[in-house]
């Protein structure tokens, strides 16, 4: 039966997606020379004869990059190759000073791992290319009025992570990439900034009739530099392939560029135009044989990873899955949360809710550790709410003050008179409210219990929300001897 003909109209096709991620490592120096990594310095100031590809120079592998690579391999549950080798990937381009990129080919550093629901095919080390800037309208080298090369980036250590085609929607791809990003960030091996290119993602996309096992012809979507563009790009590509197949045409293997502004997908090169990279073992480098000590050191350097942490939050602290994931995937939130938890042992779920639904909207993407809100301060505030020392709405006001000015919640409450009204003060207010609402009193006495709300409302208005609703109700019932 020809593939595709079994599809029920309207049911659509199943997208099959694999990702290839390039991660710039935040090592002190470049992959194969001792130049410091560049962070926006003047062009061509972070270069040396080696990363400029001068004749006679030789690469020496960066031990810290190997360490980071091993950490990534282990964190992704991969098997570490006992002996992996570097290869030369040959092609001419002005951003490639040696005319070849040193990469890994048939024996990568690590393979066969898993992160979340997605299997990892391989993890390997390589070097980044330099940066080309093209003058002129085209923005590409062809048709450019002129092109200049900045070799500062050339030779930056990269780890390439390739997944198996285990992803089946743009949303899943985005969600998984967020987990990977959080994991790499937690490892402290990269800045993982997509906009700045320290995390870059290509997607291999194909479609097939649901329930079939064979893979369709894939197209490779290059370099989507945000989560949104990744998801939009995949959606656009899946739609394009569906249109082709429905029209009876075939998907051809090619490399594609997604333009996030226009939404257009254009071909960069077809399979026929694909480079023959003429890979062969890099004779200037010895095989990479991780010693037991190196593996031990990499293992010891692994922190608790986001997936494990989310699981622990759910299991041990009974947090809702979405809350647990938010705290775990944004490691800085999880750290803040756990510090607060340790400081004043408030209710874990209550505290989590304050962090995720109150603190995060006030801070946006900023790290709470950098904010004016101290973890122990938030913990005390949540404790005060639980102890009914302050009302929920007043506590939100206190958090607002803490976020903008800093300070201790008790002091803010005292200063601003936000303490829960109680005792004689509250009794007087209740007295006045009963007196002012004779009709409601009548209704209550007549058995209409919900009329008590009018009196509670009056108390709340007068205390500006500083009163505890339950306490006020109890007080009213007592006064009315109900």
């Amino acid at each position: 039966m020809p593939e595709g003909s079994t599809t029920v109209p309207g049911r659509g096709y199943e997208p099959v997606i694999g990702l290839e991620i390039h991660v710039q490592l935040s090592t002190r120096t470049k992959m194969f020379c001792s130049c410091a990594l560049s962070f926006g310095e003047q062009p061509n100031t972070r270069t040396c004869p080696i990363c400029l590809g001068h004749p006679g120079t030789l690469p020496v592998a960066n031990a810290e990059a190997v360490h980071f690579g091993l950490m990534i391999g282990l964190a992704l549950g991969c098997e570490i190759a006992p002996r992996s080798i570097f290869h030369r990937k040959n092609y001419f381009y002005p951003d490639l000073p040696k005319g070849y990129q040193i990469s890994q080919y048939d024996i990568p550093l690590a393979r066969d791992g898993r992160l979340g629901d997605v299997r990892i095919h391989r993890v390997h080390l390589e070097e980044d290319a330099a940066k080309l800037v093209h003058a002129g309208a085209s923005g590409r080298i062809h048709g450019a009025a002129g092109s200049v090369v900045d070799f500062n980036r050339g030779g930056t250590p990269l780890v390439e992570i390739v997944t198996e085609p285990d992803i089946h929607s743009a949303g899943e791809a985005g969600e998984w990439l967020r987990l990977l990003r959080a994991t790499l960030k937690r490892l402290g091996v990269s800045d993982v900034n997509m906009a700045e290119g320290s995390l870059r993602c290509d997607a291999n996309v194909s479609i097939r009739p649901p329930g079939t096992a064979t893979l369709g012809t894939k197209a490779e979507l290059k370099n989507m530099n945000s989560f949104r563009f990744l998801e939009q790009g995949i959606d656009a590509e899946v739609a394009r392939q569906e249109r082709l197949v429905r029209a009876g045409e075939e998907v051809v293997q090619e490399t594609l560029h997604y333009d996030p502004v226009s939404g257009d997908i254009s071909s960069l090169r077809s399979k026929e135009e694909a480079h023959d990279y003429r890979y062969f073992p890099e004779p200037d480098l010895v095989p990479l044989v991780p010693s037991d000590a190196m593996l031990e050191r990499a293992r010891a350097a692994l922190p608790e990873l986001p997936a494990e942490r989310a699981e622990r939050f759910e299991r041990d602290l009974a947090l809702a899955p979405a809350t647990a994931r938010l705290l775990a995937f944004r490691g800085e939130l999880g750290d803040f949360y756990e510090q607060a938890l340790a400081a004043d042992s408030p209710d874990p779920r209550e505290l989590a809710s304050w962090v995720t639904t109150e603190l995060v909207p006030r801070l946006g993407d900023a790290d709470p550790a950098e904010s004016k809100v101290a973890p122990d301060g938030l913990a005390r505030l949540v404790g005060m709410v639980s102890a009914r020392d302050v009302s929920r709405s007043a506590a939100k006001e206190v958090l607002g003050v803490m976020a903008s000015e800093g300070g201790d919640p008790q002091a803010i409450v005292a200063e601003r008179g936000l303490a829960l009204a109680g005792g004689g003060e509250l009794e007087a207010v209740v007295e006045r409210a009963i007196a002012a609402n004779p009709a409601a009193v009548e209704q209550i006495r007549g058995g209409k219990q919900q009329a008590i709300g009018a009196i509670v409302g009056a108390v709340m208005r007068e205390t500006k929300g500083r009163a505890d609703g339950g306490a006020v109700q109890a007080m009213i019932r007592e006064r009315l001897k109900l």
Partner: protein
Amino acid sequence: MSELLDLSAVQAVAAIGAGDVSAPELFDLYRARAADDELGAFLWVAEDAPPRADPQAPLAGVPLAVKDLFCVEDVPTTSGSRILEDYRPPYTATAVERLSTAGAPMLGKTNMDEFAMGSSNENSAFGPVRNPWALDRVPGGSSGGSAAAVAAGLAPWAIGTDTGGSIRQPAALCGLVGLKPTYGAVSRYGMIAFASSLDQCGPLTRDVTDAALLFRHMVGQDPCDSTSLEYPEPVASPSAERLDGLRFGVPPELTGEGLEAGVRAVFEQTLARIEELGGAVDEVSMPNTASGLSAYYVLAPAEASANLARFDGVRYGLRAGNGDLLSLYEETRAVGFGDEVKRRIMLGTYALSSGYYDAYYGRAQRVRTRIVEDFRAAFDAFDFVITPTSPTVAFKLGERTADPLAMYLSDFLAVPMSLAGIPAISIPGGLADGLPVGIQVAGPAFSENRLLDASFALERAIAFDGTAARA
């Protein structure tokens, strides 16, 4: 003057140390001779003697000729190629740096086959080199300039590089000692790469003692070269007088056909001398070594095709073309590279291309492994393997330029040792029709001390006289 010229480098070191000779005087003598070079051996000669040479330094200021593929900071370095005609490297090769630190200042840069690809020095973009033994003949290659310079007394000693015979074959054709060390013994950092898994640098000297001294100051691990290794023992000055108990294996696969009669005669004389000195000579079959040249001409061009990709006109060296990217690449490389370099880039690119990799590169690697095994087996039964260095004496300029295969055969005997990464030395065995014949002795990895010692004993017995070339 001529007395100074007659001193070997080691004798010169001693004379300077004793205060009998001054280093500047020696440097000036050789500088003047190098500047008057009529052989085409030098591409660049130092202007001035280095300031304040330390007479007590291990090499005492005895000047050194350096093959032009060693990068030396701010000194023209061409690797014999038009594409690097105006190139001045921003750094200095480790070997040159070490020798300079040990007290051997650079006298000049010597001519060579372009990117070390050749066996006659006729592939230099800057003209051929003449053999001082017969001016109408080649000095061998690719370190032809270094060999001619030392043989003619334009330099006391020199360093060259050997990928598939490029030190040993010119040493043989010029009546010198040439040592290709164990792969990894000397740092390759700063040597413009031809075939990285084979390239090694080593000394070209008048005698074995000079070679040992120069080699001693070249070896050692270099943090800039991952393939370099710490030399396992100090390099000693050779002193053996006899070869008692030493077993020399002669592989019939290499020494059977194709040797000139004069070369064979000198080789057989040498084997007889070995026995006179107490050594034993016997045949050792090394069936795969005859395939060495074929494997070499796949592997070396494959590596070269990548090593030479950096010469693209973007960052340094020659730039040609009309400003378009493709024309920049094509024109720069069309104008900058000579025919032999282009031939090898094409061979290597083809051997690595998709669909042919296994048939060529993969197969050649397997042959290489078998040759390594041949040597391992040979060294189980023998201390050394011995052959002539080159099947022929120096041939005439132009004689083989039209026939690349005939030229390649010149390295038939030298290539297997390169593929095995083992040390091999060429020493003068005598003359055939007035031209030097080299004898090659090879040993296991890091056996240089034993190799130098045995060569020293043999050298004394042979008593080769090279003064004719310095006339």
